[in-house]
């Protein structure tokens, strides 16, 4: 159980909006009248992450010395395959680490670009990317909150080929 502080900020200036925000800073502003409401709710320990983007090359080099990318259809089929058959979640690609997370959402993002602004900058999810939501157990959630686990990485078999010039040209940078 965690205490979450809701602070209502009402500016005394006319024509200004009222804002409800979550904050732990009791001195957010001296110019506002503040009132705090405490609510105790349970953490759900769910992450939403990008399992695999399409037409986007890996940032890192794989163990076999390659930088891979996958086309839209390959990512789509991979998503369907995983969601329908496996749904297994592990940690750091090590054997015996399965079972600490449960897939609660897994699908292809369909629609306009989804831009997420966070501390690490702006992230864009485009139409065709594989997005997955996982609920973690408490120990793993602690690892995630302490930024020791930061993202998702599929593991399995794949067929690798030389990309065509068209496929290279369609690679996106973001």
């Amino acid at each position: 159980m965690t205490d979450v502080t809701y602070r209502l900020r009402i500016s005394l200036e006319p024509d200004t909006d009222t804002v409800v925000e979550k904050t732990t800073d009791p001195n957010a502003s001296e110019d506002v009248a503040a009132c705090e409401i405490f609510k105790s709710v349970e953490e759900s320990r769910v992450t939403v992450g990008l399992a695999y983007p399409h037409s986007k090359s890996d940032k890192g080099v794989a163990a076999d010395g390659h930088i891979d990318f996958a086309g839209r259809s390959a990512v789509e089929k991979a998503c369907w395959s995983f969601t329908s058959k496996s749904r297994s979640i592990g940690i750091q690609h090590r054997d015996g680490t399965e079972g600490h997370g449960t897939v609660v959402e897994s699908g292809i993002h369909r629609g306009p670009d989804w831009i997420i602004k966070g501390d690490g900058g702006e992230k864009t999810i485009v139409d065709g990317d594989w997005v997955m939501a996982v609920q973690w157990d408490a120990p793993t959630w602690d690892l995630i909150k302490s930024k020791r686990l930061n993202g998702l990485s599929p593991q399995g078999r794949a067929k690798r080929g030389t990309p065509t010039p068209e496929a290279l040209a369609s690679l996106r940078s973001h």
Binding site: S44, A74, P154, G161, L168
Partner: protein, 677 residues
């Protein structure tokens, strides 16, 4: 392939067994969202929170002011709580808050309640000991009984009491006091104040004896000193001269202290002499000198005239100062240029003030003169002597500053003033409407003008110095020649004889010689400026008539020195130009080199990228699966799967046992072929 080279490859088919949480995902994207809050639990929306807060804060208990903590430390009203000691509610505007606090206090105003300890300051005595009365809390803990809270004894009012929350209650049965502008009475009776006051007046008035009135018919009550003053004021405004005299007499008879006080026309008195009027010669003792009267205006005119004259004297002094500072600059003290500039600005300011005071003096004099002719102002007239003095003052000002008689304009009496004000308004609007660039240009032009003015002053001073130097040189030369004469009279005589001989032999040569001599002088004059013309002429005449060979030598040497100085200055300027040019070339060269470096770096980057693209476009040497094979295999597999599906449907749905059997056999074959492949 060397270890350093990395191939970009495409994953054609992915069959993930699992997805892992990793510290550094290869796709480079960290978690998009961390959902820490369970959606099933209550997550308040803005409206819900607002409603909840409104419910929480619905009670009468307002939060104590965090600025003054509900304690009024001084007489200054707290800006947060407006002296009420409590904070506005959430969403409450200051106006609403004040209205609400007023409504909570029957008096109609927030009531500051002093709750700080009267014994100490913030809980400590002057000797830094903890206050025994409040135990160091700084708050007055000795509250009076609840029925005596906020007890206020006001003059002429009944006691006001408050409740335990500090809200004031006022006994509505209280009576009005005698003060017509009593704030407490106004608060007490609100809108009924005027009616109640009228009732009281009637009641009180009826009870007064006839002797309490200044005039027959029970008019102008003077039963107390405030009413007496009021009577004086009223009669001065509305009464006839006879009534004024009678009321004044009655009041002064009953209240001699009013007479001794310095009374104004409206019956009010000065509590103390006005220090601003201490130097004034006039005394405000009679109605003839009342504000706005002709005497008053004449005095104003004289004061303004005196101020204008003083300002003129100040301007002259500043001008002298600036001139002397300019001479100091000419003498070599360059830092005094700033003083000259400041003095010129001060002169401008004084001139502005002089213009204002002169205009005021003129208009005040005009008003006084009008009153003297036939117009009564405040019922008084100017004496002839004052009129004469004002006319003289006006003429004097007009002579000094030019004619500013508004009657000569098309406008009315204040035409001059209006035109000045309009000009100022126009100028202000123009400045306001100016763009930043325009304003900068305007300011630069003004600065250039000021600098030019200062430069002219300095140039004038330099000219004067050059003239003085030249005069001193001529004087020195004459002295030297006289000394020579005294020392060697024979040589002087021989020289004169030689000159006489020359003049006899060739009379035409004399003008030529004179011209030759004067040529050098012309050069000197050209160097020294026109300001030294008269001195130059005198020097020329002296040289033409009486120059000795030593003087000629000295002059020649001086000329040579000047030429050398000029040449040196010219060379210095050329050198400075060359240095500047060299510096400019060096800077340009540095820029070119820098741009060259940037271009080089860009070319290198582009070359690297091109190599990368070439590498990516080239067939990978380590490809493990040919794309064409994979596609053919996938297509064959898909076709086989489709056939299997069709045969399965046929075997399942057909009613003919033979067809079912054939379909099953075909299925078996196809599946066997699939396993084999």
């Amino acid at each position: 392939m060397p270890d350093t080279e990395v191939a970009i490859t495409e994953l054609l088919e992915i069959d993930p067994d699992r997805v892992d949480a990793v510290s550094s995902p290869a796709n480079g994207t960290d978690w998009l969202i961390l959902k820490a809050i369970d959606d099933s639990e209550t997550v308040a929306t803005t409206d819900e929170v607002l409603a909840e807060i409104a419910e929480v804060t619905k009670t009468d208990d307002r939060a104590k002011c965090d600025a003054c903590d509900g304690i009024v430390k001084s007489d200054d009203v707290c800006k947060k709580c407006f002296g009420s000691g409590v904070l506005p509610r959430l969403g409450e505007t200051p106006e609403e808050f004040i209205a609400a606090v007023k409504a909570s206090a029957p008096s109609g105003a927030p009531v500051p309640v002093r709750t700080d300890c009267p014994t100490c300051v913030n809980g400590y005595l002057p000797d830094d000991k903890v206050c025994p009365d409040c135990d160091g809390s700084g708050k007055d803990s000795t509250e009076p009984p609840s029925d005596k809270l906020n007890r206020v004894d006001a003059d002429g009012h009944k006691i006001h009491e408050g409740d335990a929350k500090g809200r004031e209650k006022i006994d509505k049965s209280a009576e009005l006091c005698d003060d017509d502008d009593c704030d407490i009475c106004k608060e007490l009776f609100g809108d009924e104040f005027t009616v109640e006051k009228a009732k009281l007046k009637a009641k009180t008035r009826n009870a007064l004896p006839d002797s309490a009135f200044a005039l027959p018919g029970r008019r102008y009550p003077i039963h107390d000193i405030s009413h007496a003053r009021n009577a004086l004021s009223r009669v001065a405004q509305n009464g006839t001269p006879e009534e004024k005299a009678k009321v004044r007499a009655a009041v002064h008879r009953k209240y001699p202290e009013i007479e001794s006080a310095t009374a104004k026309a409206d019956g009010t008195t000065f509590s103390a002499p006005n220090p601003a009027l201490a130097t004034s010669d006039s005394t405000v003792a009679t109605d003839a000198n009342a504000p706005g009267s002709s005497t008053w205006e004449a005095q104003d005119a004289q004061t303004a005239t005196d101020a204008a004259v003083a300002l003129m004297a100040a301007a002259e002094l500043i001008r002298t100062f600036a001139s002397r500072e300019a001479q100091e600059v000419a003498a070599g003290e360059g830092s005094d240029v700033v003083d000259v500039f400041d003095a010129s600005q001060a002169l401008c300011a004084v001139n502005d003030a002089l213009g204002v005071m002169a205009r005021l003096a003129f208009h005040e004099g005009l008003e006084a003169a009008k009153s003297a002719d036939d117009v009564e102002k405040a019922g008084k007239r100017l004496s002839r002597k004052s009129v004469s003095a004002l006319a003289t003052a006006r003429d004097h000002i007009t002579q000094l500053l030019g004619d500013d008689d508004p009657s000569k304009n098309d406008d009315n009496d204040d035409g001059a003033t209006k035109s000045v004000e309009l000009d100022m308004d126009k100028l202000s609007k123009e400045i306001e409407n100016m763009e930043v660039d325009e304003l900068t240009k305007w300011a630069d032009a003004r600065d250039e003008k000021l600098v030019g003015t200062v430069g002219e002053i300095v140039a004038e001073a330099l000219k004067g110095k050059a003239a003085m130097d030249e005069a001193a040189a001529v004087s020195n030369a004459k002295n030297a020649r006289n000394k020579n004469r005294k020392k060697n009279p024979k040589a002087e005589t021989d020289a004169l004889e030689d000159e006489a001989d020359q003049g006899t032999n060739d009379s035409a040569s004399s003008p030529a010689t004179g011209a030759a001599k004067s040529e050098g002088d012309e050069d000197a004059a050209a160097d020294e400026g026109t300001g030294a013309d008269e001195t130059d002429d005198a020097a020329k005449a002296a040289d033409e008539v009486e120059l000795t060979p030593e003087e000629i030598e000295a002059k020649k040497a001086r000329k040579d020195a000047k030429k050398a100085l000029k040449a040196a200055k010219l060379a210095e300027r050329e050198l400075a130009t060359k240095v500047a040019l060299t510096k400019s070339i060096e800077e340009s060269l540095a820029k070119v080199v820098e741009q060259n470096e940037v271009l080089k770096a860009t070319v290198e980057t582009l070359t690297g990228e091109l190599d990368g693209v070439k590498k990516m476009a080239a067939p990978s040497t380590i490809s493990r699966t040919a794309p064409a094979d994979a596609q053919i295999a996938a297509k064959a597999r898909d076709d086989r799967d489709m056939q299997i599906l069709a045969l399965e449907r046929k075997a399942r749905e057909s009613n003919d046992p033979d067809v079912k059997k054939a379909a099953r056999e075909d299925l078996r074959e196809l599946r066997g072929a699939g396993v084999a492949s």
